[in-house]
Point group: C2
């Protein structure tokens, strides 16, 4: 990072990097395929860790929450070394090659999450709209990744100050609240409880009730009323 | 496109393109800044048209619907010449320079839509969560762009067959239904009616009710019950 900051990224050679690190050029290439990879050395491992989070998810967890925990691994990679992340961010904004490398990494995470969501749509949902699942999965994965990138960018611009994980949790809560109804819960926006005709959730001052309209009116009303009274 | 298909994109020179078109190299550069721009000649104009759609939007229109109409201009650009779009898509998948040019174009549309949504959040909403507006705007713009790209990609892979605008409308309906609650309707997922304690909407078999939890229980229940009975 010191060499890049003083000489510029493009002008710095692998030989100079190796010399500065006190290793042979050959040794550099044993660790990194390219100069770009040396800038983002952790993306491969982070992708593997994110995938492990998805694969170990408890069965009851909402798939959107699982994906949010998965992308947290990416945030932790940046948060582990704020100074390096901030310096790299500045470099990335100036060097097209690095920006492209980063875009490609983000695309890999997004594909991983899309595949996961696609595999976790509610099996009890109707099959007649199954054609829409790939669209829904891609849009939902994109929402999570966009929220993550937004928080990360804001944190990097602020010089890596502040509790970025808490900011991320707040952003995920907003995405879940605003966009989360129905993602992963099947094809028709409603969770489909086996016994209850309606699901009710309340966050802060707002109550959201989702119900099947073919459920008996009395039962729906009782469920909603009960939920409201319990607050 | 013929030259690129036979000689390959990188190997084709501007001189060869100009010669094939029967014009001078100078003339080529009067129209296009680069070979990449000649491949995507319409992105600049389309961005202007999309912006014009946003600026002319009727006051009552939901901002998310406005943005959907805006990105339709992009789809129309592709749909106007299916054969060229399909050939270009194949080229774009093989040539990194072109893929990067396309990613940059998509990013420009997405920034336009993010700015628009940010400027059209419900003014009547509380100001205490206004910090979350940039996040919400970016995530919503990303959802619309992702849905558009999904439909476009599917259509291009199918060889440009079928009514892509109808497919796009269907995708937007899903995004609106699944992710649309609260986008542009303010910062707390709930439309805030002046007189009614709850808002109720029903699509297909699903009813969604949003209410302020500090509203009188009786009134909320009456509103929901009335909406259910009217179906």
């Amino acid at each position: 990072m010191e060499l890049f900051a003083t000489k510029g990224y493009e002008a710095t050679t692998v030989d100079e990097i190796a010399a500065a690190a006190g290793v042979a050029r050959r040794t550099f290439f044993r660790h990194f395929r390219s100069k770009e990879e040396a800038i983002f050395p952790d993306h491969d491992d982070t992708l593997i860790r994110a995938e492990a989070v998805l694969n170990a998810a408890p069965a009851h967890e909402h798939p959107l929450d699982t994906v949010c925990r998965g992308i947290k691994e990416v945030m932790r990679m940046y948060a582990a070394r704020p100074e390096i992340s901030v310096a790299r961010y500045k470099l990335t904004r100036e060097v097209p090659t690095l920006r492209e490398a980063e875009i490609a990494s983000v695309a890999r995470y997004e594909r991983l999450f899309t595949r996961y969501l696609l595999g976790h749509f509610d099996e009890h949902a109707h099959d007649d709209d199954a054609n829409d699942d790939p669209l829904l999965a891609e849009v939902a994965a994109s929402a999570v990744v966009t929220a993550h990138n937004h928080v990360l960018r804001r944190w990097l611009r602020a010089g890596g100050q502040g509790d970025v994980e808490a900011q991320l949790d707040h952003a995920f809560a907003i995405v879940r609240r605003t966009f989360g109804t129905g993602i992963g819960a099947g094809r028709s926006t409603a969770p489909k409880p086996a016994s209850s005709p309606a699901s009710v959730s309340a966050q802060g001052e707002v109550l959201v009730a989702v119900a099947r309209t073919d459920a008996p009116l009395d039962e729906v009303m009782r469920t909603i009323e009960q939920a409201l009274k319990e607050r």
